[in-house]
């Protein structure tokens, strides 16, 4: 045959080269007829697999396929995308999965969406009858909760809901406009935000229950509180609706928010509810960096997805720059969120046997790790559709726990709680590190699905830091550790704060209860002022003298133990003091008649009980005004003269 061995590519496997002009098929046939040859095959050329749709503006969808193309004036980095074109080699969606968009509505007539809009199978269009008995008449394509009508048409000034819907499932490969992550899917339009993009929790909750009751597997929630970075109170109704979705096997994909907030410090709802059917999403740009506007959260925001300059459908005829358009570019975590919803739907139709938790964990386990997201999301990565479809979850280590928190209870117990984000862990290890110890040590091993632990084997020492983390494990190994929950036992605050007050100084005394303070910090304010630090002491001090006071002034003091290492203690109970007026220096101005004999003293006797109140009134009332001081001086001068005159008469 003239073939020569070029190289060994495995035990007994040879890559052979044929002479130029050889008949490959004939050589193959000869090899295959040779009993010493197990098999023979051509060495096929391969290329990176990729399915590209015919949608005319697909090239503007950098989030789906980033070749470094310029979109909205920005040329990104090739490969900084969700890799969906490679996923499409495996699956493009089959219309079996319903994704509810709880949003501003959807233009269900949009030519790039209409074929993928959900239709209520139990409702007859236009017969004015509530055929399915759900309390809603002719809810053929969803419901408008904002207006309580059966028309969920998007009327938003930006076409927000239609944009979200297009990212999830604009009809793919139809030679028109854009492609959704799913070429075929069922989008359930649930409108609860008005034309200005605002709505309320009640309607959002009602929309979620509608989605649950009508077969949605995924709810896309690209909405949040309009408040910026404040300590928001979570809605119980919203949390219960999402928890009900979880019990029904429905995932809720929620936007992390667009205010650059740290969701660990200022939770953003619904993304920040600690429920394991929520997938909270931050946004990345075309360089795989966290978008400049995106909220983040190392413990609670699960992953990131493209959300800057995202090109998608908008309601038809939307006027942008004075011309009507059917497509537009919008940025926000609202756009990153449907990328994730889309991949979850794609995966759900590709692997219909996966539970909601498995879908979620598969997507989280298959992210592309990015250093730019290391402290920004729990998965530390960006969505990857291709990896999600190819991941075999049972052969993976578990995904790490989130939302870990620690609370000190009494003097010898710390309670931990966390969110179990894994569906196939065999258990959890609880690990602890105290103070400056270099490493974590394993405390305990817990059963699968554990989400809490009480560490009662600990003596809480003032000023020490107690760090905890949990590690899920299974036969394939350990998950990455959860984030750390830290409890720092504060310094003991001083107590027994007392004072010794003079007109020009205040001496403060307290009881030193701390064993670990570096000193004490003394703060002072006046009636309407803020506390300002006026001095510090060395460790173990028990008094401080404030020389900076004025007479006749009310002051408030706080004293706290301080430490650079563990922070300051609480303040001792506030102490109020009132400095007296300056001492009286009233003298007779008559050199002939010296002395300060007083009419009251002469009349009542030096030890009469009425004199102390009179002196108090003199010092604390009369002495506090100019007129009073003149009266006092006049009194002393006149009374001395009167007494001498009376004595002379007598």
């Amino acid at each position: 045959m003239g073939a020569s061995t070029w190289r060994e590519i495995g035990p007994g496997i040879a890559h052979v080269k044929l002479p130029i002009g050889s008949d490959v098929m004939a050589v193959l046939e000869a090899y295959r007829n040779d009993p010493s040859v197990d098999y023979a095959e051509p060495n096929y050329l391969v290329r990176k697999a990729e399915t590209l749709p015919t949608d005319t503006r697909f090239g503007e969808q950098w989030g789906l396929r980033n070749t470094g193309q310029t979109v909205s004036g920005v040329a990104g980095v090739a490969g900084a995308d969700i890799g969906v074109t490679r996923a499409w080699d495996l699956h493009r969606g089959d219309g079996s999965v319903i994704v509810a968009t709880v949003d501003t509505g959807v233009d269900y007539n949009h030519p790039d969406l209409a074929a993928n809009i959900w239709t209520n199978p139990n409702e007859v269009a236009g017969n004015s009858i509530d055929d399915d008995g759900n309390g809603k008449v002719d809810d053929v394509h969803g419901w408008n909760f904002a207006r309580n009508s059966n028309d969920p048409m998007d009327d938003d000034i930006d076409g927000h809901g239609t944009h979200v819907a297009g990212i999830i499932g604009a009809v793919g490969n139809n030679g028109l406009g854009v492609s959704g992550v799913n070429w075929s899917v069922r989008i359930m339009p649930l409108k609860f935000l008005d034309a200005d993009g605002y709505g309320d929790i009640a309607d959002a909750v009602a929309a979620m229950y509608y989605a649950i009751d009508h077969g949605a597997r995924i709810i896309n929630a690209s909405y949040t509180s309009p408040q910026r970075c404040i300590l928001d109170t979570p809605s119980t109704a919203e949390r219960e609706a999402i928890a009900a979705a979880g019990r029904a096997g429905v995932l809720v994909v929620a936007a992390a928010g667009n205010f650059r907030c740290d969701n660990e410090k200022t939770p953003f709802y619904p993304a920040s509810h600690a429920l394991n059917n929520i997938v909270s999403v931050a946004a990345t740009d075309a360089f795989d960096n966290l978008a400049s506007f995106s909220n983040a959260g190392a413990n609670s925001v699960l992953l990131a997805a493209p959300g800057v300059n995202i090109f998608s459908t908008v309601r038809q005829g939307l006027v942008v720059n004075n011309r009507p358009v059917d497509y537009n570019t919008i940025s926000g975590t609202s756009m990153a969120t449907p990328m994730v919803s889309g991949v979850l739907a794609l995966l759900a139709s590709y692997r219909p046997g996966l539970s909601a938790g498995e879908l979620r964990e598969t997507v989280l386990k298959s992210v592309d790790a990015k250093t730019s997201l290391a402290d920004k999301t729990l998965s530390q990565g960006r969505l990857n559709a291709d990896a999600a479809l190819r991941l075999d979850l049972p052969s993976q280590t578990p995904f790490q726990a989130g939302f870990i928190q620690a609370n000190a209870v009494g003097d010898n117990r710390i309670d931990l709680s966390w969110l179990d984000n894994s569906t196939h862990e065999q258990g959890y290890h609880v690990e602890r590190r105290i103070g400056s110890a270099p490493d974590f040590t394993r405390l305990d091993m817990l059963a699968a699905n554990s989400q809490s632990y009480s560490d009662s084997q600990v003596q809480l020492a003032e000023g020490s830091a107690y760090r905890y983390r949990v590690v899920a494990y299974n036969a394939h190994g350990d998950s990455p550790p959860s984030r750390e929950a830290v409890i720092t036992i504060p310094l003991l605050a001083p107590n027994g704060l007392s004072s010794e007050v003079q007109y020009n100084q205040v001496r403060l005394r307290w009881t030193d209860r701390s064993q670990a303070e570096q000193g004490y910090q003394i703060s002072r304010r006046e009636d309407y002022g803020l506390y300002q630090v006026i001095g510090t002491t060395a460790a173990n001090a028990t008094e401080f003298v404030d020389h900076g006071v004025r007479a006749n002034t009310r002051y408030y003091y706080q004293v706290r133990a301080i430490s650079d290492v563990v922070g300051n203690s609480m303040a001792a109970s506030e102490l109020m003091v009132l400095t007296p007026g300056t001492p009286l220096t009233v003298e007779s101005r008559d050199p002939v008649l010296p002395g300060q004999m007083c009419l009251f003293t002469a009349a009542l006797g030096a030890n009469h009980p009425a004199l102390p109140p009179i002196r108090t009134a003199r010092d604390w009332v009369a002495n506090r005004s100019t007129l009073g001081r003149h009266l006092i001086a006049f009194y002393y001068r006149v009374s001395t003269r009167l007494l001498w005159w009376w004595k002379g008469r007598a």
């Binding site: 938003d156 009602a206 229950y209 119980t236 650059r260 400049s292 609202s334």
Partner: protein, 106 residues
């Protein structure tokens, strides 16, 4: 929850002017949520009639049902603040929870 590209410049200006201070800090002050009625959930063991009676005790009227038995958006009667009404509803053992119906946005 969107960023409009045509307004990117404006957004950048507002970001420089205000967002940094607004988002970089934690505002711990209590804020009064904008309310558009009250969301109430009757206790699960109540019959619909008992739930109606419980709501009537607080002089509230149902605006709409929210998709689950006993879960309603109710009106805020005149003369009562949101806080007063929510406190009263929460102290009623016939009701599982009550909260102001707050605004949200895209």
């Amino acid at each position: 929850m969107i960023r409009r590209t045509p307004l990117a410049g404006l957004w950048l200006v507002s970001l420089l002017a205000g967002t940094a201070s607004a988002c970089g800090q934690t505002d711990t002050e209590n804020h009064t949520p904008q309310s558009n009625g009250i969301i109430v959930q009757c206790a699960s063991e109540l019959t619909p009639t008992q739930c109606d009676q419980a709501l009537a005790r607080h002089h509230v009227e149902v605006v709409k049902s929210l998709g689950r038995p006993g879960l309603f958006l109710v009106t805020q009667p005149k003369g009562k603040s949101v806080t007063e009404l929510v406190d009263a509803l929460r102290s009623d053992p016939a009701l599982k929870y009550a909260e102001p119906n707050r605004r949200v946005g895209r």
